[in-house]
Amino acid sequence: MTSLDYQRLGNFGYAVITLIGDDGFPFSVSTDFKILPDRKIVLQKPARPSKLDGKRVNVLFNHITGLPGGGYGDRRYMLVWGTTHEDHGTLRFDPESLSEWDEKILPFDQYCAKSAPQGAKYLGMLQASAEA
C-alpha cells in the first residue's frame, strides 16, 4: 500500500472506526488510539460494535483547526482500511490500504486540479444518462 507515515499519523487526536453492520448500514464510532514503538496501531475498544475481532474496517484520522472568526482550516485526514483484532481488551489494527489528504502538503487548488478526472468522469456519466 501507499506508505503510511506513522509520524504524521501520530499527530491526530483520535480515530473513527467504521464497519458495515449486519443491517447493511455503516457504523462509525470514535475512539482513542496509540502507536507503539514497533509501529503497531492500537485502538481503544469501544462498547459498540461488540464484536470487532477479525473485522474489515476503515479507520479515519481527521483533523481541522477552528478559526477565530468561524470556520476551519489546517485540514488533513488519513483514511486507512484494514483489519481489527481483539487483543487483551484493546484492538490491534493491521493497515492494508490508505487514502489521504493534507492541505499543507497538497494545497486545495492543486487538490482540485488533481481531481479533475473524477469531475470529467461524473459529467460524462450524466451526459450518457441524459442521452440514453
Binding site: V16, T18, L19, I20, G24, F25, S28, N62, L123
Partner: protein
C-alpha cells in the same frame, strides 16, 4: 411556556426525537465523518454537514471533483454520519451517529446546492469570498446535493464510547 427543545419537537412530532445536546451537536459541529458503501466496504470522509430542522434530514454537498461518494450512494443508499469532532464549535464533546438513507440529486449542479448557502455561511463565514471567485474554481462549484433521511440515531454523551450509546428511532 415551552422550553427550546419542546418548541423544536412540536413542529414535527413524527421526527426522531433527540435531546437538546444532540440537536446542538447537529447544528454546531463543523464536520462530520460521512460514510458510504462501495462494494461492501465502508468509505469514510470528513464533510461539512447541514441539519434541516423542518424535515429532520441532513444534507451534505459534494463537488463533482470529489463525487465518488455520490456514485456510491446511487448504488447503495445506506450511509452514516458521525458527529465526533467539536473543534471550532461552541458545543461540548459528544459522539452522535446517524444512520440513514441517502438520495443524491445532481439535477442542477450549478444552482441546486445554493438553497443551503445560509447553513454553509453559518459554519464557514468566509464562503462568500470563495463564491466571488466562482469562475476560478468552476468545477468545485458544480455540486451534488446528498440528502439523508435518518433511520436510527445513537448518541454517546461526552463522547465516552466505552459506554453503550443512547438509541433513538428505529
Amino acid at each position: 411556556m415551552l422550553n427550546r427543545a419542546a418548541r423544536q419537537n412540536r413542529v414535527r412530532p413524527d421526527l426522531i426525537q433527540v435531546p437538546l445536546w444532540v440537536r446542538e451537536t447537529f447544528d454546531s459541529y463543523l464536520v462530520c465523518e460521512f460514510t458510504t458503501v462501495k462494494s461492501g466496504k465502508p468509505v469514510t470522509m470528513p464533510l461539512l454537514p447541514f441539519y434541516l430542522p423542518d424535515s429532520g434530514k441532513f444534507v451534505v454537498t459534494s463537488s463533482i471533483l470529489f463525487s465518488k461518494k455520490a456514485e456510491n450512494v446511487k448504488k447503495n443508499p445506506k450511509v452514516s454520519l458521525l458527529f465526533s469532532n467539536p473543534e471550532g464549535s461552541k458545543a461540548g464533546k459528544h459522539a452522535v451517529l446517524v444512520q440513514g438513507i441517502a438520495h443524491a440529486d445532481d439535477s442542477d449542479l450549478d444552482h441546486g446546492w445554493e438553497k443551503y448557502l445560509s447553513y454553509w455561511r453559518k459554519k464557514e463565514p468566509y464562503i462568500d469570498a470563495y463564491l466571488a471567485e466562482r469562475e476560478k474554481f468552476g468545477w468545485f462549484w458544480k455540486r451534488i446535493v446528498v440528502q439523508v433521511e435518518p433511520k436510527k440515531i445513537l448518541a454517546w454523551k461526552n463522547g465516552d464510547t466505552s459506554q453503550a450509546p443512547e438509541e433513538f428511532g428505529a
